[in-house]
Symmetry: C2
Subunit: 666 residues, 2 copies
């Protein structure tokens, strides 16, 4: 049997598993797996460094199926190369409840799924983050421990999405030469021919951003192999344009949008079996073909054991640091450093913006935690994300710890997902809170995958002032709190800011967003407990002088107003307590008893936040007053805006008194 | 005085107005206006077809300052060329509360501000939409009535944002040759040199997408003029790369990020006056310079009167249609067509997915309203947005009514903003509801500007089934309802779908999103009132058989479940009413009496929506049960998912009975 015949039947195994699974599920996308089967076969049988029996091997090559709808391609590869999580049973249960073989690849469902893809353009950007992480770790631990490639298959959908441009430009700028992108150039999108909506010369586009590019017949195994070899030697990231036929092998539907996202149907499947000379039943992969695949899956065993040897031989300190970072454990030094810092805050009681407090916290954190990788989407000075430890990263020097992401919020967020997925590093990145709108698809994926990614979002309300409504978040806290599995922290002062940072760092399976002010805030905490009070999500910051009649719940910059209002109300004879609410989501996780105690039973409850009310029913009843926003903001100095929109101490006092009077009347 | 000297002092008028206004506000961005003053002066004094005294002239050239932070450039130009809205007083009140001269240009604040910019990349994409609208209207009304250019100034920020790639690719594909982009190539971003984060060859990048490009010294007036002339003759859109110095004229800060976003300071301003030989006081534009500018502002008067003559001479039917469309009035035929259609629904009682019902509604609407322009981000067959009337638009034929936007959700949304801003057309565009995350920055601007843009968002819950959590909206209804000034419609059947479409079309100052199902739904309306019941946002769909004990509030696909639950509860002796809630925002606008009546006073209230609870306190108290989602979805057939997540008739009935029992006990 020739190499070529062997390749052909291995690739056909992918094709039939994919079309049969889609047929059985009566749902799914056979076109891409059938079209990209040759690329994937060459990659997985000759190049990819991975060990199906040790899928977490840190120095494995990463493979990202950016065109996630072609999930059966990935599941087929994982089954065929011998990943235990993906059995034939799982393949037969494609897209069924509880299977590991979801409609799109879901990170965490099975080993070998390096990231969740499906929303287009995310995977290629995750891959940029992974390739960046590889270079960063290589600069720290050397070629012996970190030296691998990152491969991704992207379709026209991924390349049309704007985020792909951010990814391409960033990868080209940083010369991530171990990143190799296969463009599944099949000329078809869901609506029909790519010509309907695009005329881009993709090679020229990539080259404009500093990439090497190659053009191959995506069904010619030797040509693909030659291209991969060239790409691996390049000093630039490489895009290999692979001319393919979508649904390759399906006699009547090949090359059309009919094969993109629907089962082929029994007749076409029969015809495909005939045309590809495949005499085997559904889901039946003959042992000689499976053996070829399983052998391919063993290709890197030696490389892995050699790597393990190098790890054992490494300098013990480096080995320890590497293993700790890869496990995701924080260094022990952090807790002490935080405790010391909180003591200094108790002494200094700084009056600073929480974005500045975040910088102060980061100065402590970055000193204790070498694996943090900071960055900003071109707002470094405003986001206060760069500390004394964070030398910039450049194409010539990956030993730094700070990424100038450029004006690429979405790309930054998705690249951070890739960095977190790679492991060994903790990414944080920043822009203005209002621009979480740009990051949102990637932030949702941080949450869905459960990644430790930390979003530093400053200028968190109308308090940003003159830049006006385009730059003033109003609905963003609510919109972010709506995303499952995401902590939205809005600290009130320097102490809470450090506590929120600590919680974000300790949160391994939930991403965090810190919403931070532009404007200066007084210290509101008077007791700097060793305990992290923000851990409870909400806590009583100030008790009432007697049985409380009023409770004021507030977050971030409005906690100071709440304290002033308390003083005024107490002076008027209304005992008032103040609850600081740094994190709704953590509060929701507390016991019912704790929650009831924090809500308390004062007659009057008021919420205060310079944002919309939506979501505040966590604390408030329908008739309880809320001091906040119910429209877009405006362009003016911040103080004037707070007055104009009625977010003032006086407004809180007036609302409390009005409500007290109403309750006493009725 | 030479032409060159004249140019110089006109450009310097922009520079000084800008730096003085920023200084007075002690806030703002002087760098771009000073750097781009020469480009703007050439454009506005020699090319731009506009009439400051008739700023709404439909055939004016459109000018978009995509780099919106340089707003003082635009305000200076509007003041200098004689727009009445922008007085010297307004310029002195730059960035102050209530001024027309907000921190970023705000559409609607003053004539001459064609769009709201500031969030980067939006303006250039609006400009693509405007240029597309121009070609579409040209194909309908001919050169005599519609024949103008669209110009935009974009900075590195705009070009780094991913959305710009979507814009560039779309414009190149459609060969929008009357679109001219000036790239203010000053080599500086907020963080410092562009080299820190980007190495893209922008000309090559644009050329890869079918653009013509030119390179000029952005301070050489004649070179700029020559480039504009060339660009106007091109059969492709043109990008003119203008090498500029940011903060041109400021002796020590020129060419650095120090001049980007901060006042220059008194010393630097004095030095700039000296270096540019400008002897005039702050805000003092000598009359000879102002005269030159005002004369420039009169340049197109003749062109405008000629155009008005052509309009008067036009075929009366075409003239009437043009004027009506430009006013934004809907054709009278629409109401009759809708009434007839609703009668047919009463007869047919179709059981269809609301995405299909939307197609049926659109078939009626597109027949009666010639100015609708449909499209989809490559999900045409799934979004059901193409009707018999909507021939595709292509570079060779703009007479069509359907845009294949490609896999470019964000670009589609921002281009639709541009189409709506241009006037004369009503854009609607589609993707899956979950991908509103990709569109969100542009959707927010639709709301902030108050544009009639209609978002058709299908596959609106776990009801989409097997594609899994990446494709299943859970938090999106809440997140969209959080945006001020945006109607989120979730119709329950074909009748409500048409009513929601009607409301969306009639809503001139508020954009709309229609959330539509993938899965089939029975008709829930039994009376097909001539009145549009969705207008109230919520209405009693089914009364209780006696004094109601239970009220079920539901939206969209869950209204059917609510009706089934009602039947079951009535059978168990619990009189139950059902309120259909197609639009929270319209309900909020009703009278307190109406709202109280709809909430009613039954003991038990239940909300049902296959999404998170956030926002439902519009109807529910804290203790009222809610049947919906509180996590991400999963990949499985839809029916199974509804069962798994407990969104069933049985769950509603059980929750109602539990609550009744609890209330009776306590």
């Amino acid at each position: 049997m020739t190499q070529s015949e062997k390749h052909e039947r291995m690739a056909n195994a992918i094709r039939f598993l994919s079309m049969d699974a889609v047929e059985q599920a009566n749902s799914g996308h056979p076109g891409l797996p059938m079209g990209a089967a040759d690329i994937a076969t060459v990659l997985f049988s000759r190049f990819l460094k991975h060990d199906p029996k040790n899928p977490d091997w840190p120095d494995r090559d990463r493979f990202v199926l950016s065109a996630g709808h072609g999930s059966m391609l990935l599941y087929s590869l994982l089954y065929l190369t011998g990943y235990e999580d993906i059995t034939l049973e799982e393949i037969k249960n494609f897209r069924q409840f509880g299977s590991k073989t979801a409609g799109h690849p879901e990170y965490g469902h099975a080993a070998g799924i390096e990231t969740t893809t499906g929303p287009l353009g995310q995977g290629i950007t995750n891959a940029v983050g992974m390739a960046l992480a590889e270079r960063l770790l290589n600069a720290r631990y050397g070629d012996a421990l970190v030296d691998h490639y990152t491969y991704t298959i992207a379709g026209d959908g991924c390349l049309m999405e704007g985020i792909s441009q951010e990814a391409i430009a960033l990868a080209g700028h940083l010369r991530l030469n171990k990143l190799i992108v296969f463009w599944d150039n099949n000329g078809i999108t869901i609506d029909g021919s790519v010509d309907l909506s695009d005329s881009t010369d993709q090679r020229a586009r990539f080259e404009a951003s500093g990439w090497a590019t190659l053009d191959v017949d995506g069904h010619d195994a030797e040509a693909i192999a030659e291209a991969i070899e060239k790409a691996r030697e390049s000093d630039k990231p490489t895009m290999i344009a692979c001319k393919t036929e979508i649904g390759r092998g399906a006699p009547t539907k090949v090359g059309t949008n009919k094969v993109h996202g629907s089962p082929l149907g029994a007749d076409e499947i029969t015809a495909t079996r005939k045309s590809l000379d495949w005499a085997h039943e559904s889901f039946d992969i003959p042992s000689e073909i499976l053996d070829d695949w399983r052998l391919a899956g063993l290709r890197s065993t030696k490389a892995r054991t050699a790597w393990e040897g190098r790890l054992q031989d490494a300098d013990p300190e480096m080995k320890g640091a590497f293993e700790r970072a890869m496990r995701g454990d924080l260094p022990g030094a952090l807790e002490t450093a935080i405790a010391d810092y909180k003591k200094s805050l108790a002494h200094d009681k700084p009056k600073v913006a929480t974005r500045k407090a975040s910088e102060m916290a980061l100065e402590v954190i970055n000193g204790a935690v070498p694996e943090t990788i900071g960055g900003s989407a071109d707002l470094t000075g405003s986001n206060n994300t760069k500390t004394s430890q964070t030398k910039p990263v450049s194409a010539d020097d990956f030993s730094g710890r700070y990424i100038y992401y450029g004006i690429r919020e979405h790309g930054m967020a998705a690249a951070m997902n890739g960095i977190a997925l790679h492991g060994g590093l903790i990414p944080y990145g920043a822009t203005f809170l209002v621009f979480t709108d740009y990051c949102r698809p990637a932030m949702r994926l941080s949450s869905l995958m459960g990644l430790r990614v930390i979003y530093v979002m400053t200028h968190d309300s109308i308090g940003l002032g003159e830049d006006g409504p385009t730059h003033q978040p109003v609905e963003h806290l609510a919109a972010l709190r709506a995303i499952p599995n995401h902590y939205i922290f809005r600290p009130a002062d320097a102490c809470e800011t450090m506590e929120c940072w600590q919680l974000a760092l300790e949160s391994r399976k939930t991403p965090s967003t810190l919403a931070l002010t532009r404007q200066g805030l007084a210290t509101v905490r008077h007791e700097f407990e060793e305990e992290n009070m923000c851990r409870y999500g909400a806590y009583e910051l100030e008790t009432a002088s007697a049985e409380p009649k009023v409770t004021i719940f507030a977050t971030g910059s409005e906690v100071g107003l709440a304290l002033e209002a308390r003083t005024a109300l107490e002076a008027k004879g209304h005992p008032t307590r103040v609850v600081s609410v740094p994190c709704f989501e953590l509060f929701e996780q507390q016991s019912e008893a704790y929650k009831a105690a924090i809500r308390g039973d004062s007659k009057v409850r008021i919420g205060v936040e310079a944002a919309i009310r939506q979501g505040w029913d966590l604390f408030l009843d329908r008739d309880d007053p809320f001091i906040g926003m119910n429209s877009f903001g405006a362009s003016a100095p911040a103080d004037e805006l707070f007055r104009h929109f009625g977010i003032t101490t006086e407004a809180i006092v007036a609302a409390a008194e009005k409500r007290l009077a109403a309750l006493e009347r009725g």
